[in-house]
Amino acid sequence: MHVDALIAPLLNGSAQGALLLLAALGLSLTFGQMGVINMAHGEFLMLGAFAAYLVQQVITASDLSIPVALPVAFVVAGLFGLLLEVTIIQWMYRRPLDTLLVTVGVSLILQQAALQIFPSQGVPVEKPGWLDGQLTVLGYDWPLRQLFTILLATVCVAALSAWLKHTSFGRRIRATVHNRDLAETSGISTRTVDRLTFFTGSGLAGVAGVAASLIGGTNSQMGAQYIIPAFLVVAAGGIGQLKGTIIAAWAVGVALSYFAYWTTGSLAQVLAFILVIVFLQLRPQGLFTVRTRSLA
C-alpha cells in the first residue's frame, strides 16, 4: 500500500472534520442552551455560502472577497437566527421537541426561497488565489483550502471559548446552559442570553457556510447535508462539551474519509451512523437527563 493511501484520508478527513466542527459549533451552543435542535441550522450555513457569493459580486477580487465574506456571513446568518428566535422559538421554550418540527418548516421555506432566488444548479464561489496551492505532506499533495478550513475552525473555536470564558456575556451563557432557573433567579436576563446565543450560534453556521462554499458547491440543498452529521457530532461529543465536540467532529470526519476510501461514499454514511449508535450504547453519558428531585 502506498503511503498516501493512509495519509490522504487522514488529511482529507481532518479537513472534513473541521468543516463538521464549524457546522456543529453553533448547533451545540443553541442545543446546549435550549435542548432543541434547530433544523434550520443547515440553512443558516447555506445563507453564509450565498453571502460569500454575493460579496464576490461586489468585491470581485477573490483574494479580498473571502476575508470580507467571513464577517458578513457571520452577521447575515446571525441576524436570521435572531429573527427566528424572536418570531418563533421564544414562544416554544417549554416544547423543545415541537421546536424541532417548527424549524423543519423554516428550513423547507429557506431552501425553497434559495432555490428560486439563485440559479437551481447553484452558484460558483471563487477560491482566492492564495488558496490554490498544495502542501506536500509525506508525498501527498494536500490542497491548501483544506488547511484553511482547519485554520478557520481553530480560530473559531479559540474565539468562542475565549468569549465564553472571559466576557461577562459568555459567563452568562454558560450559567444559563448549566442551570436556567438558577441563572434567572440570580438576575441574569435569560431572554437576552437566549437571543445572543442564537445570534452567535447561527452566525457560526454562516462562517461554516463560507468554508463549505470553498470546498463543495453552493446551492439550496447544501444545508440539508450538514444538519444530520453535525447533530451526530454534537450527540457524540456531549452537550455543552466544546472539547467533546472537537474530538467527535474530527473522529467522524476521519472515519467518514477512511470508510469512503475503503468502500463508497454512501456506504461510509451508513457505517458512520452505525458507529454513532454503537458509540451511544457504550457511552450514553451526556444523554442521561440530569436527575432532579422533582422528576419533572
Binding site: I37, I88, L101, G105, V106, S107, I109, S266, L280, Q281
Partner: protein, 363 residues
Amino acid sequence: MTKKPWISLGGIGVFAVLLLAVAPLVLSDHWLNNLGKYCCWAIAAVGIGLAWGRGGMLVMGQGVFFALGAYSMAMHLTLESAGDRVPGFMVLYDPLAPLPAFWEPFRGAGFTLLAIVLLPVVVAGILGYALFKRRVKGAYFAILTQALAVALATLISSTIRETGGDTGLSDFKYFFGFVLNDPANKIMVFLIAAGLLVVCLLVVWQLYRSRFGELLVATRDAEERVRFLGYDPANVKLVAFVVSALMASIGGAMFVPIVGIITPAEIGAAASILMIAGVAFGGRASLFGPALGAMAVGWGQSSLGSTWPDGWTYILGLLFIVVILFLPNGLSSLPARFAAARRRPEQKAAPSAATPELEEVRS
C-alpha cells in the same frame, strides 16, 4: 383520551363504508388510485400517531420502515414480472449479471409477506431496544431515526445494480398472479389498502382504550414516574415503536402495486418529514387525525406538488410552523378549543382537554 370509545368505533365504521363502498362507486379510476396512495400514507401515519402522539417518540425516519415493506413488495413484483429472467435493469450494465443473493427468497409470495411483517418488527425491535434501554429520547431519538432514513436512502441510491438506485423499481405487471393493468384488479388492490387502513385504525382504537394506551400516555408525560410504578418504560415505548414500524411497512408494501414505482425519494428524509406533516396537521394524539391529515397532505403533495411545486413547498413549510406553533394538537383539537372558548366567559379556569402536554422531560 377517547372518552366515548363506542362513538369512535362508529366513526371508524362510517369511515370504512365511505372508503370501501362509496369511494369505488363514485370515484374515477384515476382518483381511486390516488386515494389508494393516500391510504398507504395514512396507514404509516396511524403508526406515527401511536408512536409520537401517544408515545412522545418523534419518529422522523418512518421512511425506513416504509422502505422495508415497499422494497420487499417491489422485489417480489419485479421478480414476478421478470419470470425466470434476471430483472431488466440489472442486465442493463452487465448482460450476464446474476441475481443478487438477497433477491432470491423474494420470489416466494409467502416469504415476501412474511418479510413485510417481520423485517420492520426485527429492525425496529433491535433499534428501539438499543435506544430506549439507554434512555435515548427527545431530539436525540428524532435525529437518529432521521439519520437512519438518510443513510438508507443514500445506500439505495448508490446501489443501482442491486436496487435500481435513484430510478427505483417499477414496471410491475403482476400482483400475486393478478394482472395489475386490469381495472377490476386495480379496485381490488385499492380495497386491500383501504381495508388495511381500517384495520390499523381498529388496532389503535383498541390500543388507545386499553390499559396499554393509558400506560403509553403516562410514559410519554412522565417516563421516570412510570419507572417508579414498577414498569420498564423502555418496553412500553418499544411496543408502540414496533407497531408503528409495522404499520409503516404495510403502508409501503401497498404503495408499490398502487403507485407502480418505488424510489429512494419516497423513503428518504423529505418523505419521512412529509409523513410527520400529515400527522401534525390532523392531530397527532387523536384517533382519526393522523390518517385524515396524511390523506390531506398526500392530496396536496400529489396535486399541488406537481402543478405548483414551489408554492407547495412554502405551504408545507408554513403548515409546520403554523400548526405546531398555534395548534399543537392539530385540526382534530379545534372542536374542543371552540367549546372551551365558548365556556370561558362563564367559567374562567375551565380545564382544557386540548392543552398540549407533549413536553419532553428536560430537567
